[in-house]
Amino acid sequence: MASSSRTGQISRQDRIRSLLGQYGIGIVLIIMMIVIAIMEPRFMTPGNIINVATQISINGLLCYGLCLCITTGGIDLTVGAQLALTSCIIGQTMSVLGWPAILSILAGVGVATLFGFIDGVLIAKFNMFPFVVTLSMQLVIRGLSQVITGGRAVMLTNDWFTGIYSSKLAGIPMPIIIFAVVTVIMYLMLHWTKFGRYIFAVGGNVNAAIAAGVSRFWVIVGVYTISGVLAGLASMIYTSKTGSAQSNIGIGYETDAIAAAVLGGTSFAGGIATIPGCVLGIFIIGLIYNGMNMIGVSSYYQSIVKGLIIIGAVMLDMVMNKNKH
């Protein structure tokens, strides 16, 4: 290519840039893995990789909900509080009222779904700002979980229930299986259904979507309801992991979920997101925690490093995708 013309070089540069743009976040992930693996050889052991995958399932489920809401041009700040409320409902019904585990789970996830639905109706029907609606609802939900528990933690001793986190199927921990199944469902929903296209259309240009016959109401209500379901499922895994139901869990969890979605290319401008991107984002957030713990970064610094890595990764992504805009 030494004799290539100026324009030839430009187009080659462009090609490389566009390749980097498509897989930029994946490259960030790989670089992170290599750096951590060099600094701490234990990192790349199968045991630790499975460990990371198990840990990320909770943030992963929340991230998909956030991804959908952000893609319609909104946000769901309730997911952390939803985690607490579902946990408390499961704890109270199972330990105090003695309900069977499966019924408790249905009740807990059902209530989270209902709150997601209410968020969606408030946003879609009354044109309220998603930020304001979910910021306020988050207080309501958190408060409710304190009311029903009286602020006390409840221990869960049901073996079947705690087994949700610790049991394995064909050698794979259950949380990974749940996460994988949800990932496949979300992928098909966003990229292979009418509903997914409508989400992109409403987020991309709501007027054009309505003019093309899309019901803004059902798309908005749909995504917040799904976010509710996923927060409920995440709470089930979380509660099973800790074996106790508490009203003060999940604080700040929306931050990690948003971070993962944004790292994965979900645009706050609306209308742009991919599920494979989110998966990468979820893994990066998971690795930041796991890797820093293994390298021995003090927890005081972890949050600072996390923030800087997110800004850096998003900036890198923007530089690489500069030509798209």
Binding site: L188, K194, F200, N205, A208, A209, A212, G213
Partner: protein, 503 residues
Amino acid sequence: MSEQGREYILECEGISKAFGGTQALKNVQLHVKPGEVHALLGENGAGKSTLMKIVIGLYKQDSGTMVFDGKPYQARGPVDAIKSGISMIHQELNPEPHLTIAESIFLKREDHNGIFLNKRRQNERTQKILDEFGFPYPATTLIRDLKLADVQMVEIIRAVSTNAKMIIMDEPTSSLDAQETEHLFRVIRDLKKQGVAIIYISHRMAEIYEICDTVSVFRDGQFIGSSALKDVTNDDLIAMMVGRRVENQFPKVDCPIGDVVFKAEHLSGKGFEDISFEVHAGEILGFSGLVGSGRSETMRAIFGMDPLESGKMYLNGKEFKRKNPGDSISQGVCMVNEDRKNFGLCLFRSIRENTSLPSLPEHQKGVLLNQAREKREVEEVSRTLLLKAASIEHNAFSLSGGNQQKVVIAKWIMAGPKLLIMDEPTRGVDVGAKAEIYTLMSKFAAEGMAIIMVSSELPEVMGMSDRVLVYHEGRINGEFFRKEIISGEVTQEVILSSAFGVA
């Protein structure tokens, strides 16, 4: 500098600019004299806008030089350009709706007393300028309370008030009606007398002939030629622009007109009253009238974007009821909105997704989409519409205005309408693509579709319609037939007087 340095106010020589691998401008030139109105002509994507953005410093050229007012010139940005004496009025007005006229006119060059704004003096100065222009609003009026045409006027006043030696106007009349356009032309003639050079970008040939002195034509990023307008014919210019002769600007094919497809009875709503009409299979029904006379409002209400206060509609003999556009689309009534950017496309989604959006319910296989069939059908309709795009997976954003409009039309054709309402179907579309869109309209009508075309361009309405209904202040004020138009019985003047309510 050339020997003619004193003759020209702006000289651009050898300007080239590439975006990534696309060469947007190839070694182009432009020479503008003081006190002349200089038209820039070319299809969308020909490079006119890129060149102007280089002139006002929004882009930096890869090579080439500029001389402005006898001095080497290179703007670092629009504010810098204004300081040098070049102002630009953009096609897409970007008014800050919450500002007053005075704040808007003095934006980024506010009147200061030390660090504080001197609002009173700013208002007084603005009022003086407004009075000079005979602009009938106080300087403290909010931009959002103005009509679109008045917002345009404010932009022009702002450009003039900077004491610009040259003003660039990008499609300044696209949102103006005939009267307002006439007013703008008076302003332009005044500016000319003061020696201000105007660069005038427009797709409307009649206007160019009326107001411009010189024309420079661009095609595919290249400078094709420059000439005094009195020396070139319309056909010459179109041939220069598209690189070939467009045989017939309005390729209307007469086809047999069938049964009534859609019938409106006594429709009333916001902006229109007691509207009744029928449109038949194979018919192109034109709606003419001034901007704001209620044509678009009627169409939006029929399509279900706005409520209808009273009246009944029938589709193929059965009563047509709709709560929202979705209901209309599923019954076969589709509408190309006049506002492509806001109601037409999701610019950052692919051509494929944009095209199939209204037809998705028909592409479901169980819960999932049959994407292979979707892709096939989008490719097919894109071919029918002669869409120029490397791939249907590219973003709609990457297309020129004419091709974006084709995507909008493609999505409604794919939905298979019985009645297709087209509101300003060729707004912001270049000559070549215009002719293609007209050909397609004829083709769809011949296939039995009923087409309603709302248009503010008289030649278009007269050239394409089987029948023309003229609006005046929310009511239908005239009906004209194609044979009357062809025979010359009905002229532009007749339709205009009907639109103005004189006839």
